[in-house]
């Protein structure tokens, strides 16, 4: 009985230690995951957000991309988008904001494959978006699979390449 109690307490302490260590000293994998979750949060907004908030939010999203980032996104029913560079990302996001009143972007199943040098990472994730807007921006999308290449520059993980992966082949 005593041995069991000690075993149980030891297991609990071990779990707590692992969790606290990850919370206090996150691994690079956790940092990448956290950066992407924050990106999804920054990209989401409600209908009551004003212009200053919108500018700040778009800047925060664009800041997650490398200056020479390349983006290739194919959204069913909305078409294909190709962007190059952080500035273009910022401009296109700002332009899109005029047609979208509300956006909830979520990333699921984030799979991080960290490079050997721990300064590069390849990420696979599935994004869902619920949007209220005009024209092709209405409705968002159900599930889109993405592949991202990230690089750690000056302590921050930034997206260098982002492209959609077809779940089903044509």
């Amino acid at each position: 009985m005593k041995a069991l109690s000690w075993g149980f307490a030891g297991g609990l302490l071990l779990c707590l230690g692992v969790w606290k260590r990850e919370a206090l000293f996150p691994s690079e994998t956790t940092k990448v995951r956290n950066a992407l979750v924050q990106l999804a949060s920054d990209a989401s907004f409600g209908p009551s957000e004003g212009n200053i908030g919108a500018v700040r939010r778009v800047a925060a999203v664009a800041d997650r991309f490398a200056p020479d980032a390349s983006i290739e996104v194919d959204i069913l029913g909305s078409g294909n988008f190709q962007l190059t560079g952080r500035d273009e990302v910022q401009q296109r996001l700002m332009a899109a904001r005029r047609f979208v009143r509300k956006l909830v972007l979520q990333f699921h199943d984030i799979v991080v494959d960290l490079g050997a040098d721990e300064t590069t990472a390849t990420v696979h994730l599935t994004a869902t978006a619920d949007a209220v807007g005009e024209g092709r921006y209405q409705g968002g999308f159900d599930a889109l699979e993405f592949e991202l290449a990230l690089r750690k520059v000056e302590g921050r993980w930034r997206i260098e390449r982002l492209r959609t992966i077809p779940t089903l082949k044509q």
Binding site: M1, L4, L76, G77, H108, D109, I110, V111, H124, L125, T126, T128, D142, A143, E145, P166, T167, L168, K169, Q170
Partner: protein, 177 residues
């Protein structure tokens, strides 16, 4: 003299928390957790349907079970509804298997042709004649591990309906009726 008479009975709170025999309780707990994890990982995976692409058989908001074990034991057949993994299991596609490995498939004016023959599909209510796939007008030969999967709601525009060829490794399991 009974040796157990010397021992004082365990306090009631300990009996409530770990039972009369903690070792048996620990083993029971371990087995229960293990069986539950295995069951929800390989036997029954709960899913919630979102969207209208599988209407009318599967409605938006419905809860269903997917069985990876059943797909492994019985195999995947034409007409089965399967769940297709994306980068994981949190978000998956629910589609009906239309074409099997090695078959020649095509969608012409809304009709599915398998090896040149029109497929009877009683689960479809309405179909749009605007559906044509592949877009180059030829047949698509499915590879040894490839399945053509399409949703039941063929009344919706083809460019708003996600369908195509799924690799076997992407198919998690069959949806239970």
């Amino acid at each position: 003299m009974d040796p157990s008479a010397d021992k004082s009975p365990a306090p009631w709170w300990r009996v409530v928390v770990v039972g009369r025999n903690p070792r048996v309780t620990a083993i029971r707990l371990l087995v229960t957790v293990l069986l539950t994890v295995l069951a929800f990982q390989y036997v029954f995976v709960p899913v919630r349907v979102t969207g209208i692409s599988m209407s009318p058989a599967y409605k938006d908001g419905e809860r269903r079970w997917v069985s990876p074990l059943l797909a492994r034991l019985q195999g995947i057949h034409r007409g089965d509804v399967v769940s297709i993994q994306t980068s994981g299991r949190q978000v998956m596609y629910l589609k009906r298997v239309i074409g099997l490995p090695g078959e020649r498939v095509q969608i012409r004016k809304g009709d599915i042709l398998v090896n040149g023959d029109t497929l009877e599909e009683p689960y479809i209510l309405n179909r749009s004649p605007a559906w044509n796939w592949p877009t180059n007008g030829t047949e698509r030969l499915l590879g040894p591990e490839e399945y053509l999967v399409v949703g039941d709601n063929r009344a919706m525009p083809m460019d708003s309906h996600y369908f195509g060829v799924a690799d076997r490794r992407r198919i998690l399991g069959k949806v239970l009726r």
